[in-house]
Symmetry: C2
Subunit: 135 residues, 2 copies
């Protein structure tokens, strides 16, 4: 089976230090965090500014990749469902996707609101939100 | 530098056979395609049905990973911008993200509308659209 190599392009700095502390989804919780991007990708940030909405793609390094069915929102009262029908971090390729508001950009550090990733989570991609594509 | 291994969980079957034929974005073009998912992840599809909106995450295996700045929409009249401020397939981790409408689910084949990935593109994740998270 072919594998593709994803490399971290940045890192999350967040007040959320463990899965126990994490909200089920970041956007409603409005948590403020920072994305500290690697020097090597700095030119790729050109054009991002405060006020933008971005999808942050992370690698959920603490997730379990063998899990295929889960109780939605971790609630045992809700029948199990396939992980592709949920936003569970546990999934075969644990790529997290979280829409955030950019509060500021200083050099290679983006301050953002609405991220549910743990402190130390690798960032693997950033994509601008486009209402024509994403709704 | 640590790398994370992403493995294909399915494959795109599409009338789009080359980058020349690809629309700049799939959703406005309304292209119909199929996702043929791997047997090993079939239980993870449980709960997906016709009428759902899904984000399809693909691995753009034809993309260039060294490109950090591009002309948006490939238009040389628009000044170059960092790839993280665009939806270009060329980026350090060439993960494509495309919102599609599910037309049908039969066994491990999902018929979808709005996918801009080439025929043969590996699928790496599926996530349900949630208006509370994604707008």
């Amino acid at each position: 089976m072919t594998d593709y190599g994803v490399r971290p392009i940045g890192w999350v700095r967040s007040p959320i230090k463990s899965r126990d502390q994490a909200p089920h989804q970041g956007r409603p919780a409005g948590i403020e965090a920072e994305l500290v991007m690697e020097e090597s990708v700095a030119p790729a940030l050109d054009g991002i500014q405060a006020g933008d909405k971005l999808f942050v793609l992370c690698w959920f390094h603490m997730a379990e990749r063998e899990v295929l069915r889960v109780h939605p929102r971790g609630n045992p009262a809700i029948p199990k469902r396939g992980v592709f029908a949920t936003r569970s971090p546990d999934r075969p390729n644990p790529i997290g996707m979280c829409l955030v508001d950019v509060l500021s950009v200083e050099d290679r550090t983006l301050k953002v609101r609405g991220l549910d990733a743990l402190d130390g989570t690798p960032v693997v991609d950033l994509k601008p939100y486009r209402s024509s594509l994403d709704t």
